[in-house]
Subunit: 150 residues, 2 copies
DNA sequence: AATGAAAGCACACTGGT
DNA sequence: ACCAGTGTGCTTTCATT
């Protein structure tokens, strides 16, 4: 994980579809060596994968809510986590310390859909309490931050 | 934005480096047409870009905190949002409704670094109050959700 | 919008320093 | 770890429907 690896990661973070050839020109190594390095970064788990970055709004999901969630005492967390992918509006989530057990991010068509999601989480997934707020807008914080101290 | 576009988006969401050739085999159109469709999806803003998905832990940032933030009355939100990228530990953020003004996600080396970030946000960025909790682990919710109703 | 043909590139191998 | 050469496969452009 030297300076060149960090540069490669940064370039792929900007545009994951850059060719090895293009990368090689930037880092002044052969395309071959670059491909090797990228494979190593993947194998090491630094790069988890390459994803298309989608705009929920452009897909009609203009309403994003962040919901803190507390589960009922009797529900199994592992089970909750496994079953959560059945609710398509849940776009991410994390277990957290603090007053609540999880924080979920919900991308919805509108308030009506959010309402059905709330009901569903309570009815089918053992959610006891739910504290939600609306995302007004996302900040773009140029994801290069992860590399500045790595 | 028909069913084929949705399938393409899903495939690129799984692996953004799939070739047009591979995609063409999946959707039973020519590679050419697939490339056209993907370009259109980009132009339409449905696909914002292609990103390498990095593991903060593998980069040494093993401590992720979620912090709700309230700004001092006198600070300009636009300015706050523009200057935030100077704090490399801030990996994402959003303006929100509710008791707090923003929610930030902070990827830190450890508690000591988090402490310096807290101080810096208060000293340099007009943060008045900060309510933080630790991310225990992220859930993986197979990001296909955005497409199931799109 | 979709297709096929063909030129130009990029990629994965192998082998070699 | 890095590089060069080679064959194969990919992307792109253009003409066509």
């Amino acid at each position: 994980m030297d300076a060149i690896d960090r540069l490669l990661v940064r370039l792929l973070e900007e545009d994951a579809r850059r060719t090895y050839n293009e990368l090689s020109a930037q880092v002044r190594l052969s395309a071959n060596t670059v491909a090797d390095r990228v494979r190593r970064l993947r194998a090491a788990g630094v790069i988890r994968g390459f994803r298309a970055d989608l705009d929920p709004a452009a897909l009609g999901r203009g309403l994003t809510m962040v919901s803190d969630v507390r589960l009922r005492e009797d529900v199994d967390r592992t089970h909750f986590e496994r079953e959560l992918h059945r609710v398509p509006q849940v776009v991410s989530g994390a277990r957290m310390t603090g007053e609540y057990d999880y924080q979920l991010r919900l991308a919805c068509l509108g308030p009506a859909e959010f309402e059905t999601v709330v009901d569903r989480l309570k009815r089918e997934h053992g959610v006891r309490e739910l504290r939600s707020r609306l995302v007004l807008h996302e900040l773009d914080v140029s994801a290069t931050g992860l590399l500045d101290l790595a």
